[in-house]
């Protein structure tokens, strides 16, 4: 099932073709900015054919991601709420995100790892294509409180940005789809596929007996929802946080009462780094999360049937599951210099 070959070789072929076709033997082969499909991951969902990643496009996306010009008063960048050190989740001091004028949001900013492979976005799945996600951040009053029209006006006033968009997309004017494409090029490259767990799957790493025991426990107790190599089946479920959920969750999108208080099953990649946990950041530690499943599950009518009587987890099992969860930490990703501000 798991193929050890990590990266598809085709991009390299492409470059070879390029070199060969142009008889330019000086070309360097550098795959830092080449999108790749990890062999053991689900197939990428992102429309790369409409927006292939290039080095220049990635770097423009990175500049935009770190630039508060996208917010109304120039105070908040995407990177305020999505930081590399925490796998592009929010910093731990912010259970709920903080936007312009320190306005408090309603949800915890999730990690942005492996966005290219997700079918839907946000805790409630309200957005179904990555390109459209930033429109929400930009226009939500408690995030960047700006309009997309005005962002484009501001970018067009900047000589630097005009020159960059010309260079990357050959467009004389900055328009929103290219700005969104640049951000997506940056974000789809946030591939976290080199945790110790990945290395283990590829036969390159040995896990301790404690970690392996934790993995087995995880498979039997959690995989009903946190399934597969990204630990999510991407369904929307109520995992019993509240007897009367205040945030309507998936219901906000579908308007169905049966979806009240349901949230997307999150991927648990880098979960060691993404505290606090849950859509509202209510738990600070993984211990608290596991104690919740063991003894804190609240009954509400949309509660997932599999959690009706909680999940029994002994203290010993809890420690094992947590050591397994820590094998999902990918320091190569959180320290990858290609994401440093250039």
């Amino acid at each position: 099932m798991y193929i050890s070959k990590k990266r598809i070789q085709l991009p390299v072929w492409g470059l070879l073709l390029f070199v060969f076709g142009c008889q330019d033997s000086e070309m360097q082969i550098d795959d830092t900015y080449v999108f790749y499909q990890p062999a053991h991951f689900p197939e990428a969902t992102y429309t790369l054919e409409n927006n292939p990643v290039t080095e220049k496009g990635f770097l423009l996306g990175e500049k935009l991601f770190n630039d508060p010009i996208l917010s109304r008063d120039g105070s908040v960048a995407c990177s305020n709420c999505h930081q590399q050190g925490t796998a592009f989740a929010d910093s731990q001091q912010h259970p709920l995100s903080k936007g312009v004028e320190d306005r408090e949001g309603i949800r915890n900013a999730p990690s942005l790892a492996n966005l290219a492979f997700l079918p839907e976005f946000f805790w409630d799945g309200g957005v179904t294509h990555l390109d459209f996600v930033p429109l929400n951040a930009i226009e939500t009053e408690f995030e960047m409180d700006e309009t997309i029209e005005n962002v484009i006006v501001k970018l067009n006033k900047s000589e630097t940005y005009r020159a960059l968009f010309k260079d990357v997309f050959d467009m004389d004017e900055v328009t929103s789809p290219y700005m969104l494409h640049a951000l997506s090029q940056f974000m789809v490259m946030m591939i976290s596929d080199n945790s110790r767990y990945d290395q283990y799957l590829q036969g390159e790493e040995v896990l301790s007996s404690e970690e392996l025991a934790g993995m087995e426990l995880f498979e039997s107790k959690c995989e009903g929802c946190h399934a597969g190599v990204l630990q999510s089946d991407f369904s929307y479920r109520n995992n019993g946080l509240d007897a009367m959920p205040l945030d309507s969750g998936r219901n906000r999108i579908t308007e169905n009462s049966q979806d009240w208080g349901k949230f997307r099953v999150p991927s648990l990649r880098n979960v060691e780094l993404t505290s606090p946990y849950m859509h509202d950041g209510r738990f600070e530690t993984l211990e608290e999360v596991l104690k919740h499943y063991n003894s804190g599950v609240q009954i509400y009518e949309t509660l997932d049937p599999s959690l009706k009587s909680g999940i029994s987890i002994s203290d010993d099992e809890r420690a094992k599951i947590i050591s397994f969860l820590k094998t999902l930490t990918d320091r190569d990703f959180t320290r990858d210099p290609k994401f440093f501000i250039h």
């Binding site: 598809i8 085709l10 390029f18 429309t47 309200g126 294509h129 929103s176």
Partner: protein, 274 residues
């Protein structure tokens, strides 16, 4: 994975071609001729005249007798298909692109711009056509291509829902004398059905409607004839039995559906210029 591989391979080829300046363009073969489609917006029997946002003159009535005026009428038309009885078929090419000039097959009709109301189809194979089909709105195929330019660019006036992301297929805005705040806005959006598993009422709807209209004549297309299909859109029919006091603002697929269901009957082919 296969598709991804081949996409990457294709991209590589594209890079090869571009970088070596060996662009080859397919010679445009002219298959047939052009057909124009004109959309004309009416309320009942009166042509739509937009009012300013401060206006208190109400030229129209709903079927329930509530007076109103219109400040904005706009909609997307896409996936146009012409068919004939002898197997003639013309399917308008579709392409979503970040580059405004490369968008094909998606049209944004808005009352304030006359040019937008005329769609020019080219290369329609010669033959006799009896039917036109189109989508009112942008369906999943269009939305899931991602960020797009021109008429699909939210920074350029494209009506778009950020949350519950997708295009608003039909926008009808105006004022009415029957409510204090006077403004009403009917936004018909939603491109996906989500059917509840527990049997409760569905609230999340695909409100993109496929509309098929018979042409009133056998429309001849050949290199010398360039026919024009004249379609009339009746806003009164779309509003149906709306009660502005109860429903002045419509911004969700669930409520929009009540209006989307009226769309099919709101379009008619008035006549075809041969």
């Amino acid at each position: 994975m296969k598709t991804l591989k081949s996409t990457i391979a294709l991209l590589a080829m594209a890079v090869l071609f571009i970088s070596c300046g060996e662009e080859t363009e397919d010679p445009q073969t002219k298959l047939g001729s052009s057909v124009a489609i004109e959309f004309d917006n009416f309320v009942g029997t009166s042509q739509v005249n937009l009012e300013s946002e401060a206006s208190t003159s109400y030229a129209y009535n709903t079927t329930g007798g509530q007076e109103f005026n219109l400040t904005r009428v706009q909609y997307y038309v896409s996936k146009i298909i012409l068919t004939g009885e002898n197997g003639e078929i013309f399917e308008d090419e579709l392409q979503v692109s970040a580059n405004a000039d490369e968008i094909k097959g998606y049209y944004f009709i808005h009352e304030s711009d006359n040019a937008s109301k005329l769609i020019e189809l080219t290369n329609v194979p010669k033959g006799t056509y009896t039917q036109i089909t189109f989508n009112l709105g942008i369906d999943e195929e269009g939305v899931q291509e991602g960020a797009a330019g021109g008429i699909l660019d939210p920074a350029n006036g494209a009506p778009f829902w950020n949350w519950n992301a997708g295009y608003i297929g039909m926008t009808i805005e105006g004022q009415t004398s029957v409510i204090d705040e006077s403004e009403f806005a009917i936004h018909i959006g939603g491109w996906k059905d989500i059917i509840p598993e527990d049997g409760t009422t569905q609230k999340f709807y695909n409100n993109v409607k496929t509309i098929t209209l018979n042409l009133d004549v056998n429309m001849q297309v050949n290199s010398t004839l360039e026919p024009e299909i004249h379609i009339v859109t009746d806003i009164q029919k779309i509003l149906g039995d709306v009660d502005f006091t109860a429903t002045p603002q419509v911004h969700s697929p669930a409520v929009g559906r009540l209006f989307a269901d009226n769309l099919e009957s709101a379009f008619v082919v008035d006549h075809v210029h041969q």
